[in-house]
């Protein structure tokens, strides 16, 4: 019991430390904020891929839905920030019930293809509904409300620093909750399904229900990330729901590694920082990113997190005389 709690707390502490150090290493709070937001998006994908072995090309649905939800509520109805983000989480979770229920009708490549089809469908729906989503132009000039409770303003989120602290807090809590989830009996069952679904059914688990619930958890955290992204950019581009966004989230997840949740943080930082640094130096920087992805697939299957594991192991060995 103590160990289980400490592992979730340990992850929360690690995430908080990263959040503390990140702004010192990066040139702006905006960039650090983006790292944390995409870490949360990758966290959802990590749950599905790492715990269940399900690869979803539909993560942009949840990310985009969360962003549109906050954008529309904030722009049209002047909804507060907490209510807006809660709504984004809830809407994405509801969408995830539908997407998860449909996608888990099939397994393997057919599941991947289903998520791809649903994702493209959602993209063209958003594209075809400019009254709601702004279509190709997206939603512009989204106000970022201050943190308020019962009409009392608690904290202004206007400054990049204040907003970063707000995002860092949410991100830490999200990683903590996800760690609790995968360490729970529910998480154990997900691993059993990944290992041998047939057997999990035979000992009495309704495995599809578990998969759908995992989709809901993944959708919720990804939708929350999308909502925060809308507030960070003060803009919701159509690109939030396109296939490239799903691919970006998948790349961050696999690059970071799916054996540990912390990998999602590493994957997000790697992609966000790499694109920032390299795009300044060379417009065709994506050649380097592409080559890196090939190298990771071939030579570093556990992702960046496994590199960290090895480094820690070596340090421990070195410490011992």
């Amino acid at each position: 019991m103590a160990r289980f709690k400490s592992s979730a707390w340990g992850l929360a502490v690690a995430i908080a430390l990263v959040a503390l150090v990140l702004p010192l290493m990066l040139p702006s709070y905006a960039l650090a904020t983006e790292c944390l937001i995409f870490a949360m998006a990758a966290l959802g994908c990590n749950l599905l891929l790492g715990r269940l072995g399900l690869l979803s090309f539909g993560q942009a649905i949840f990310f985009g839905a969360g962003a549109y939800c906050v954008g529309i509520l904030s722009l049209r109805f002047g909804t507060g920030i907490v209510a807006g983000l809660l709504a984004a989480t809830a809407v994405s979770a509801l969408l995830a019930v539908a997407i998860g229920w449909l996608a888990t009708q099939r397994t393997g490549v057919y599941l991947i293809m289903l998520t791809l089809a649903l994702s493209q469908m959602f993209f063209f729906l958003c594209y075809a509904a400019p009254d709601v989503t702004g279509g190709d132009n997206g939603l512009m000039n989204i106000p970022r409300p201050n943190l308020a409770f019962g009409g009392h303003e608690l904290l202004s989120l206007a400054s990049p620093f204040a907003f970063y602290v707000f995002v860092a807090t949410i991100c830490t809590v999200a990683f903590y909750l996800m760690a609790r989830l995968i360490a729970s009996p529910f998480g154990a069952t997900l691993e059993a399904i990944r290992d041998n679904e047939d057997r999990a059914v035979a000992i009495g688990y309704d495995t599809r229900l578990y998969k759908v619930i995992a989709f809901v958890a993944a959708g919720a955290v990804t939708g929350l990330a999308g909502g925060l992204y809308a507030l960070a950019l003060k803009f919701v581009p159509l690109a939030n729901v396109d296939l490239a966004m799903s691919e970006r989230i998948i790349v961050m997840t696999i690059l970071g590694g799916t054996n540990a949740l912390f990998g999602s943080m590493l994957g997000s930082i790697a992609v966000v920082v790499l694109s920032y640094v390299l795009s300044d130096i060379w417009a065709r920087w994506q050649i380097i990113l592409g080559a890196l992805l090939v190298a990771v697939a071939l030579y570093l299957r556990g992702g960046l997190a496994s590199l960290l594991d090895k480094a820690v192991a070596r340090a421990n060995e070195g410490a011992r005389p």
Binding site: L102, Y110, M113, L114, A117, Q120, Y127, Q286, V294, A297
Partner: protein
């Protein structure tokens, strides 16, 4: 919509559909045989189209491009296949990661060599302008594409259904192990299949270039459509890919005149429905 306009859109759709078919059949066979999810498949199409642009700009001879570009891409794919083979045994997620990376490298290299802007490619001299059939007027080049791709499809059909190589491929889609037990050198089959799939896709890029021009992101778009067709037609199915390609081409072309986004929504709804109701595709083997 006038009858002539509708007819034009349908015939347009047939031409585009045949191009889609040639992209999808390569993807379908490669997936059926190697169980390899190749996100970089769209890059063959992209490279084929750009080779066409380069050769036509340099020599002014489209026919040279039509012959050389697929050959060049096929040879490169044949040489590269033993290297790509390392990916076949990886889990789907890592195959996707690696081929996504490859696709990115190729796309960016194309931008590096050319530039990010779209370019037009002129149709060959003899095929410029329109043909007249009474009141129905239609661009000659597009007619050529339909006739030419139909001929390619016929050759391909013969290759797949009437030759030993085709028989091996069909058996391999069921079970590669059986093929291996028959004492057939699988690695040669893999290389050849990969090369043929790549060359066909490059050929479709060459043919598409004078119709739609070339731009660096055309590969991604083609890939997405190719996946739809493979799913609708059934993995490894020749007739399925042909029917799927034509269906998508015509639906897209006709719908575009009223509601372009609606066409795309319909296509992906159809894809999802088919996976849910008939996972082996409309014409796939159950």
């Amino acid at each position: 919509m006038s009858v002539n306009l509708l007819l034009t859109q349908i015939v347009n759709g047939l031409g585009i559909g045949m191009i889609y078919f040639m992209i999808a059949i390569g993807l379908s066979i490669i997936f059926g045989i190697m169980h390899f999810i190749n996100i970089a498949h769209g890059a063959f199409y992209l490279v084929g189209a750009y080779l066409c642009y380069a050769l036509v700009s340099a020599t002014g001879n489209f026919w040279l491009a039509l012959a050389l570009a697929p050959l060049a891409v096929g040879v490169v794919a044949w040489l590269a296949e033993p290297g790509v083979r390392r990916l076949y045994d990886l889990p789907a997620s890592l195959q996707i990661l690696a081929t996504l990376g490859l696709a990115l490298v190729i796309q960016e290299a194309v931008i590096l060599i050319f530039d990010p802007l779209g370019k037009n490619v002129a149709a060959p001299a003899g095929l410029r302008g329109a043909a007249f059939f009474g009141s129905f007027v239609y661009p000659k080049y597009r007619l050529f594409v339909i006739v030419f791709t139909a001929a390619v499809a016929a050759v391909l059909w013969f290759l797949l259904e009437r030759t030993r190589y085709g028989a091996v491929l069909r058996a391999g889609t069921e079970s590669m192990q059986t093929v291996e037990l028959l004492g057939i050198d699988i690695s040669r089959i893999f290389s050849l299949t990969f090369a043929v799939g790549a060359a066909l896709t490059a050929l479709s890029g060459v043919l598409a270039a004078p119709i739609r021009g070339v731009e660096p992101f055309m590969g991604v778009e083609a890939l997405s459509i190719a996946f739809v067709i493979v799913v609708i037609g059934g993995i490894g199915s020749f007739t399925g890919a042909l029917a799927g390609g034509l269906l998508i081409g015509v639906v897209q072309s006709v719908m575009t005149t009223f509601w372009a986004a609606g066409a795309n929504i319909m296509i992906y709804v159809a894809m999802a429905l088919i996976i849910l109701v008939r996972p082996h595709g409309l014409l796939g083997r159950a």
